[in-house]
Symmetry: C2
Subunit: 225 residues, 2 copies
């Protein structure tokens, strides 16, 4: 018996993982960044094989991690988490620092960053795990708290995109839940779907100040579907 709800009890942060060079780069929202050894400092990240950034990491052998702040805006989450760099230049207009290896490091709404060179690549199935040796690290905002996946899900009402290691196929989640009537509400701006069943909170119970986690559109501009 597999209870998918158990997966949500694992704590994660939220990060922008970037790769590339000064000419061309890309980044995506990841919740799987973690230290694997203390001496030397080594960090691992997971990346879907279809992910545009995976190509950059494989080609350049470098990646950076921007640790997002608790109040990261829907614009940053939408830009890096729910859109592909194949369609537009995600780094265009962003505040980007280039690391010692030339890798782009996104500074927007980040409290710290890491720069790594890949030492091992592991094929875990649908995803690649890259293990990187630390080149440099810095704190940008010492007083702000990091964004956690739990906070993003519970307070910001965000969902994992399809390429995330923690993405849950809704049909599987539904199969393990009792049958009740839930509604869906669609953002009239970006099309984001708020599903009462997945979220566990009725749309009418959300505060009036609640906005679309993707594009920031007001609650009153959602339409029942």
């Amino acid at each position: 018996m597999i209870d998918f709800e158990a997966f949500f009890k694992i704590t994660y942060g939220l990060f922008i993982v970037s790769s590339g060079n000064k000419t061309k780069g890309n980044g995506f929202i990841s919740n799987t960044v973690f230290q694997v050894t203390a001496d030397p400092p080594r960090f691992a990240i997971c990346c879907n094989k279809n992910n545009f950034t995976a190509d950059f990491i494989t080609r350049t052998g470098v990646f950076s991690v921007s640790i997002l702040e608790k109040d990261t805006s829907p614009e940053i989450m939408g830009r890096f988490g729910y859109k592909s760099g194949r369609d537009f230049d995600k780094l265009q207009g962003m505040s980007v620092k280039y690391g010692e290896t030339g890798v782009p490091i996104v500074l927007n709404e980040s409290i710290a960053y890491l720069e790594c060179t890949v030492s091992q690549t592991i094929d875990t199935g649908t995803h690649l795990m890259f293990i990187g040796d630390l080149v440099q690290s810095a704190v940008l905002e010492s007083t702000k708290e990091p964004l956690t996946y739990l906070y993003y899900r519970q307070v910001k009402k965000g969902i994992a995109p399809k390429n995330a290691p923690t993405y849950i196929d809704k049909s599987k989640l539904e199969a393990s839940k009792p049958s009740v009537t839930f509604k869906k509400f669609k953002c009239s701006s970006c099309g984001y779907l708020y599903d009462e069943e997945t979220e566990g909170v009725k749309f009418s119970d959300l505060p009036d100040s609640w906005t679309c986690p993707i594009c920031g559109t007001e609650k009153s501009d959602f339409i029942e579907v």
Copy 2:
């Protein structure tokens, strides 16, 4: 330039990772448990090569993860986090369930658990990373929050043991900080050392209700060293 403080901005949960069989087993406190693929559900853990549990995982090819609750007691943290199973039977007297593979699963102060069979073992240097396919998972307490590493450090004043991937050699941390006068206080029961410099909070500023994060001894029973 490496700022070790940046490492503390990465969010982790805290878990008991166990292995073995119905006859003999062991478990340790880990902060590196994470999902690596969604389909099939696969999870990774990191374990120091010197860790007694690493031997069990290598020999049996199975491990379990107990996701600790926010208010995990100092007794559980001390038993599984700061002592070795080479010296005593950590599972003795604990509430243990044996999984489908026979692996012990610690239920004490846990809100959910996972049971996995090892599919890949990766040598990352001082540590081994085990990637496991999920056999079963369950939620034990749906309303309680998970314990996070940040909460354990900031509120519980806990420190990472020497075998943790996130352990920081105090001399390295000191080198990146300005010089000020800090004191150390020792627990008269278990010998735990409260270091004002590492903790960032003066011992006298801790509330009177504060207790040793390892064994629960009262603040008044600490001695300045």
